[in-house]
Symmetry: none
Subunit: 198 residues, 4 copies
Amino acid sequence: MSVYAFFTYLCPMKKLNVKDRIIEAASNLFYFNGYNQTGINQIIAEASVAKASMYQHFRSKEDIAVAYLVGRHTMWMGKLNEFVANQDTSKAKVISCFDYLVEWLCDVEFRGCGWQNIITDLPQDHTKIKDQAILHKNEVRTWLQDLLKKESQYSIEQAEELGDEVMILIEGAIILSQIQKNEWPINSAKRACLKLLA
Amino acid sequence: MSVYAFFTYLCPMKKLNVKDRIIEAASNLFYFNGYNQTGINQIIAEASVAKASMYQHFRSKEDIAVAYLVGRHTMWMGKLNEFVANQDTSKAKVISCFDYLVEWLCDVEFRGCGWQNIITDLPQDHTKIKDQAILHKNEVRTWLQDLLKKESQYSIEQAEELGDEVMILIEGAIILSQIQKNEWPINSAKRACLKLLA
Amino acid sequence: MSVYAFFTYLCPMKKLNVKDRIIEAASNLFYFNGYNQTGINQIIAEASVAKASMYQHFRSKEDIAVAYLVGRHTMWMGKLNEFVANQDTSKAKVISCFDYLVEWLCDVEFRGCGWQNIITDLPQDHTKIKDQAILHKNEVRTWLQDLLKKESQYSIEQAEELGDEVMILIEGAIILSQIQKNEWPINSAKRACLKLLA
Amino acid sequence: MSVYAFFTYLCPMKKLNVKDRIIEAASNLFYFNGYNQTGINQIIAEASVAKASMYQHFRSKEDIAVAYLVGRHTMWMGKLNEFVANQDTSKAKVISCFDYLVEWLCDVEFRGCGWQNIITDLPQDHTKIKDQAILHKNEVRTWLQDLLKKESQYSIEQAEELGDEVMILIEGAIILSQIQKNEWPINSAKRACLKLLA
DNA sequence: CATGAATGAGGCTTCATTCAT
DNA sequence: CATGAATGAAGCCTCATTCAT
């Protein structure tokens, strides 16, 4: 299965306890099938956990989703940092983000972004989930800006603006490749990124 | 209510018949609340229609969504064309797309793209809806490329590449402004667009 | 298709008018799929008739079923009489009834008796349909008794008793072959009939 | 109420739990009103159970029917064995089956056979119910044959043939008495049985 | 004689959650 | 820490029938 699937990424050696089994099961179901498409019963079946045991650890389905997103953030940022580590310059790291996207999204058959996917069709009151999305996207944004700020080529202001622009290319590439089930949007985004950072 | 809300855009004068009442009610609910958050009962209540009347016109909830997306496409492209009409050059029209985004998305309180929102959390077998999203995005893509091809500044190849890059900026701006509930992503996207088309 | 399927048996040459088209369509659907499994919409679709046209000819679904049963009675008794016509003696005619059952039931893949099938799962108030079943079974009963009364071998009383016994063998053979989807019950019934009429 | 009505036959003393309450309510409704005439809502109302509780115990309405038929089989065979127990010979036991039919069918006002009634008007895909009918009828058939094999009067072959013939008389008597709402078919069947076993 | 839109009642099933054990 | 029974609300959909045209 996809290396981007298992939450096990976070603790690959230990036998998982109940809470982590729930999170892992829910993570794969939420990401690959969707939050609304995933029922509580599916989660406990997949996790081999009793229903009330689950509600002992999580107040609601939304809370499980929050745990899923927290874990996914750690995993996703970890993989990203790993991926760009072998690039020499900050600018090269930023550009190689798009290679990361290709690897990731092809691997998950263009299932798109876990945060984008979950916030688009949610009850009005599921604010905790929406907050997670804001949090995650802000961290990615800052991560990009921080890298570009290390490039003497750009002023602080330029670095921030460029970071935002790259961020938007990333978001657009993810959602468009998901709709089209094709990697061309990621390639186009990389090309645009190269022009902007020139 | 938002000028982008009512399907009535398409036939603003006539008293709506049952089918159109259903589409209008469903359109607003699907767009503003989400496809999964909207029940058949809500739709028929809002449209003041009996349940079986609804199923006389639409085989399933998915089919209503398809009608919604078809109508929304006409509305959205119409508004876009109207908006950019007062620009002199093709390039200016493309750039003013981002002003269109600002007007639209602020008006709907950053509710995002109807097609992006509906395809991210859907049963596997809802292919008709997914096809509508592909269709819509392809039309926007072609629309952008066709405009840029009219600019003698660019070769055919350049126009196509630039069109794709602008497309990605648009998609990224929409989804990111939706998550952040803020227009900065649209402004950043416009800035990036200006650089790319320079 | 099965020669026992089409109601057309009754008027094989003429182009069918609306009423007859409805009866024919309903007949095949009621018999082969079941009364409860058959919807009004299926009937009008199969008959290529508008819904209100149908309600012009029949007050209710039950009334269509009555027309179906009346037609089926004529058809079924007609085929039976045709089948036994080449037998010389009355007793031989009665015995050959079971050959008729084999031909008929194999042809319709052991779909069983139209009257038995329709009266077993019906709203309490569908008395008109139940009456049709009583009528039909009484006619078959009388038909058998009348044949046996022609045999000088039996007294009137004996003929009536034997007729009832044969009737029961026929009913049992039909329903049991339907459950088992096999012709052995018909063969066993014929064997028993031979013993009783000996 | 009829002693043949309540599933309580199986556990007459204990206070019934939810699952058994469902089976009992459904059993009476399915048998006396028919499978198609009985809605889930009626069952849960009669059983005083919440809808979702019901679906915790049974995957579908068909599954409830299977449980009904399994329970009915135990009840029906039990009552039959009880009834014929006081007969001395195997032959007498077989013959007294028809007295059992009279007692039973008069008691239930000629409502007929639960298995015959349920398989005649069923969706194509309800195979589990149809299988139950085959199972039940096979057990009755074997039960008759086994009894007759104990009679030294008959060879094995004769016993099997006679068993089948009696089986058909039983089936015919049940369905015909149901249509006619009268016990004469059972009496005729008994008379025929006496002749065949002579 | 034909049409198809409109209906109210009800069909079966699933949801996330809580409770007693 | 685990269990699974029980729940109310809601899910999507189909029924036979009537109405205005």
